[in-house]
Every structure is written in C-alpha cells, then in structure tokens.
C-alpha cells in the first residue's frame, strides 16, 4: 500500500464513528478530506497515464471528484465489502475514464499501486478499458459506449427481484448520451420504477471531434429526462456539498430512478488540459507531466 494508505484508514474509522451517531459526513473538514483525496488521485491519474504513454486524461479528471464521493461516501467500498452479494454496484459506462476508477481502486486497496502504474501494460489487470475478465471489481466490461446503463438497469432489476436493498450507480458521458441504447435505458428504467438506480452524467461538454453542442447537441438535457419521468438533479460535479445533497435526495426518492446531471470541467485540475478538446485521449509527455504534477501538488499544499 502506498504512503496514503494510513490516511485512508483513519478516514474510514472516523467515518464509522460518525455513522454510529447517525450523522452525515458533511462538515467542512470532511469535505476538505474528500477534496484532498480527489486531488491526490489526480496525481495518480497523471502518473499512470504518463507511464502508459496513452489513455484518456480529460474524462478521467472531470469525473474523479464524483468517483471519490461515490466510492468513499455512497458505496463505502472496502476490500471486505467488495464481493458481498449485497454490495452497492458501480458501473463506469464511459469506460475510457478507467484511469480514474483504477486510481480509486488502488486507494481502497482493491488493486496495488503497481497495478495502477502498469496501466495498459500486457497482462495487467488495468486494461486500457475496463475488463471484467481481468478485474471483477469493475462489475462488468465496458468501453463500447452506450452499453453500461443497460447493464446497470439489469442489476437494479435483479435487486428488486431478490428484494435486496443494494443500489446501482452508473456513470455515463455526455457524448455517450448520443448513443441510442442510452435512450432505450432512459425509457425503460422509469417503467420498472428503479429507485435503486442512480445515473451520474459527467457533463464535461466535450467529446472527441469537438464540443458536444457542435458535434450533436444533447440539450435541453434536464427537460428531456424530466419528460422521460426521471428524478433529475443538477449539480456542480466538483462541489462535494452539492454531491451530498443530490445523492441523499436520490436515496430518499421512491418509485423512480435518479439522474444526477453533474456539470464538470474536462481535464479539471490541470490548467492546460481544462476544457481542451485535444486532451480527450492522449497522455502527457515528460514535460507536460512535470507541469501537471506541480500544479496538482500546489492544490494539496
């Protein structure tokens, strides 16, 4: 376990105490801790992409704050609960964001720090896109856009059939939303009253060929989803207070699925990557990595 493992353990102990007193984890210091973890994981993401010499920084950096909240506050994933049949599930439908998920996994201890740094290396469990065959903690294989939300729907249905109270979280991309299969899932989840399904849209406003609004606009997103009879919540995807309110609302909403439309910045945290289309799918070189790491280190200090 790398250097921050101890910090994580304390974080969890303190979390458990708070839960015992029936409180939510919402005071300032805890938010600051989550923010800190997210920024430390940004460093891990950049390092792993640099080592791999290829991969997707933009959509990894835009989603990491949300992933940190989901894994540490919502799902509360630990090595111990990661294989329980009653565990909450998370599916990364926008599979190319895998480096962010791997960074979270490494922090939790589901994979080693070496695994993380072996991103995209032959026979590593950290395949270029999520491979369930290589790493079962991923819950399913993704990487072909548009498919993950249907899988999540199936898992949420299974929970209803088995009368289990686990929840299913699924992160989709804004470009990914263009796939027809996503709309099939949008149409079907309310029919089955899947209030145990929570979709998170990483709305970073761009895809590969350009900005979403130029390639194929998906607006008005909130209105569309409301018309599809979802519980729709709109937040700043880098604001942990807003995340807490939205995820709490999602849990208490009955009879319909929730989608959290999270406005994010692609490449968030590294100035020269922020909102730059060209940083969708290339790794930083030595020099760029050094600048990126310096910037991220400043966020920690």
């Amino acid at each position: 376990m790398h250097k921050d493992g101890v910090f994580l353990k304390n974080h969890f102990d303190c979390y458990l105490i708070l839960v015992k007193f029936g409180k939510f984890f919402s005071n300032m210091t805890d938010i600051q801790q989550l923010q800190r973890i997210a920024n430390e994981l940004r460093i891990d993401i950049i390092k792993s992409l640099h080592a791999a010499k290829s991969g997707h920084p933009g959509g990894s950096l835009s989603s990491i704050d949300l992933l940190v909240y989901i894994f540490f506050e919502e799902i509360k994933r630990t090595k111990e609960n990661a294989t329980l049949p009653t565990r909450d599930r998370f599916i990364l439908s926008k599979g190319h964001g895998a480096p962010a998920l791997y960074a979270v996994f490494a922090r939790i201890g589901l994979i080693s720090y070496d695994d993380l740094m072996n991103l995209r290396v032959l026979e590593s469990c950290t395949q270029g896109h999520p491979s369930y065959l290589h790493l079962p903690y991923l819950e399913a294989s993704t990487g072909s856009l548009g498919q993950g939300l249907s899988i999540a729907t199936g898992m949420a249905l299974a929970a209803k059939i088995d009368k289990l109270d686990y929840r299913v979280y699924c992160m989709i991309g804004d470009g990914e939303t263009q796939e027809g299969q996503i709309w099939e899932a949008f149409l079907s989840a309310p029919k089955f009253k899947l209030d145990n399904l929570c979709v998170i849209l990483d709305y970073n406003k761009s895809q590969i060929d350009g900005y979403i609004k130029d390639v194929l606009d998906i607006e008005p997103y909130v209105d569309k989803l409301k018309a599809f009879r979802w519980n729709v919540l709109e937040i700043d995807g880098h604001n942990f207070n807003e995340m807490e309110r939205a995820f709490t609302n999602a849990k208490s909403t009955k009879n319909k699925p929730t989608i959290i439309v999270a406005h994010t910045i692609k490449g968030k945290g590294v100035s020269f990557m922020e909102d730059k289309v060209e940083w969708h799918g290339k790794a930083p070189n030595d020099e760029e990595t050094e600048i990126a790491l310096q910037e991220l280190q400043k966020l920690l200090n």
């Binding site: 395949q127 270029g128 896109h129 993704t142 990487g143 072909s144 796939e179 390639v215």
Partner: protein, 308 residues
Amino acid sequence: MSKATRTAFGEEIAKLGEEYSEIVVLDADLSKSTMSQYFAKKFPERFFEMGIEEAHMIGVGTGLALSGKIPYCCSFACFITGRYDTIRISAAYSNASIRLIGTHAGIGIGEDGTSQMGLEDISLIRSLPNFSVCQPCDEIETKALIRYTVKHKGPMYIRLTRQNLRDVNPPTYNFQFGKGVELTEGNDAVIFATGALVNEALDASNKLREKGINLRVVNIHTIKPIDEELIIKCAKECKTVFTAEDHTIIGGLGSAVCEVLAENFPSKVFRIGLKDVFGESGTPEALYRKYGFDSEGIAKTIETKMNS
C-alpha cells in the same frame, strides 16, 4: 515507405471527393482517428458528423446510398460491426451500395485493448449476402482499393489498420478486386495472409528461406468474394497451407480458405490468428509477439508444423 492504411484511406477519399460529387462521408465522433477528417476539411458540405451514433450512421448511409449517393460510413471496425442487425437488414438486405470503413483492426492497435479492437468483424460481415469484404496491406493497395470502391455495386466492408504498414506493392500495382496476389515464390508451403500480417508473412518468408524452407506468400486483399481458383492452385502446388490474419480464426480468412479447400482440394490448413480468445492491452509489438503474429512467430509456427 510506411503508412497506416486508415491514413491512406483518408488521403484518397479526400482526393476522390474532387472527382465524384456523389461521394459523401459520415463519421461517428472518430474523424481524427479514421482520418475522414481530411475529407471533412475539404468538403464540409458533404461530410456528416453523426455524433456517437453508429447504428444511426449506418442507417443514414443506407438511405443515402439508396438515393444515388456514394456513402462512406467510418468508425472503428468493432463499433461498425457491433451494429450488426442494421448492417444486415438495412444495408445488406437492401443491397445498398454503402461503404463501411472499419479502422483499428486487430490487436495491432495495442494499448486501448479489446473493446476497441475489431477482432470478429470479418466473420460477421462475411456471413452477410451481397457484402464484399476487403482488407488492403499497404498504402498503395489501400488507395487503389478505395478508388475501386467508387464504382462497385453493392455493400462493401473495408478493414483498415491503426498502425503503419510497410509498402509491399510496387507503385505500378494494378489492383484487381477479388484476386489474390502471389508475392513470393516457393513450393514448400503457402501462406494466405491479409492486412497487417502480409508484412509479417513476407519477413517470415525471408527468415525461413535461410533455413531452406521456401514459403509462398499470397496477399488476400479481397476476403469476399475470395479467389477460389488461386487458393486451389496454390494448395496443389505447395506442400502445406497456412493462413494469417490479425483477427479470430473463427470465420475469418482462415475459415474462408478452409471452406474453399474442403470442397475442392481437401488439405491440412494451419490458421494463424486469435484462437477463440479476446485481445488485451499492451504495445502492438508485445501483442504480436505474444500471439505469434510477428515474423518470428509466423516463421516458428510454419517450421514447427512442417516438421511435425
């Protein structure tokens, strides 16, 4: 010279756009990777950015084809052929003259891994009536093939590489649809290779020649309709038959060769390709080594099988 066949496609289609006003190009958020971007820049009014909607793109392409346009629908091979029912009913069953351009073929793409690799695309499309399936092995052949596709009647699937491929054919090369090309002489063994593995098979033949094995390398750029006559002739003239493709051996070139020989000249055929497994991440070189697709691997397979 060495160039990715996707780049050769991009350059040629941008050129052909000047000659044929009926050509239209569609892409699904991968124009910078499929290289349809060259056409897009030159002919913005005839380029359609569809967003990440491959099924819709193929349907729209069919409609365009049935209305007198010559549509080229571009994406990764796996995402194109992932929309199989649309290809089957809309395109093939209407016998629409659509051109599906599937790039990023095989494990040769490297680090992105299985979900981005076209590994079963030849098998899938080959099984559809009316469809032709082509896979060029270098820049010259790609450009000649793309020029040919403008005039062809019926749906076509073109399989292209992400990685650079060394020139195999001379500048004077005369592309003939449906005809295989004998690249080296030899009667000890014949290898029918396609796409990226033509380069590797040629290097393997050099290595084997030093060991006294004369390998005939045949480039099969048209996998459907396949050159039955040439396959039968080579099987008759050479002791052992091999096939090589960066693709699953189930339903691809290897299967096509077996089908021809089983009915006409039953022979033992050894198929080099993915043996009923998915791909994985890694450098293209490491993957070619692991799966025996590089020249050493091919030479070793041939040597071992011939001595067994």
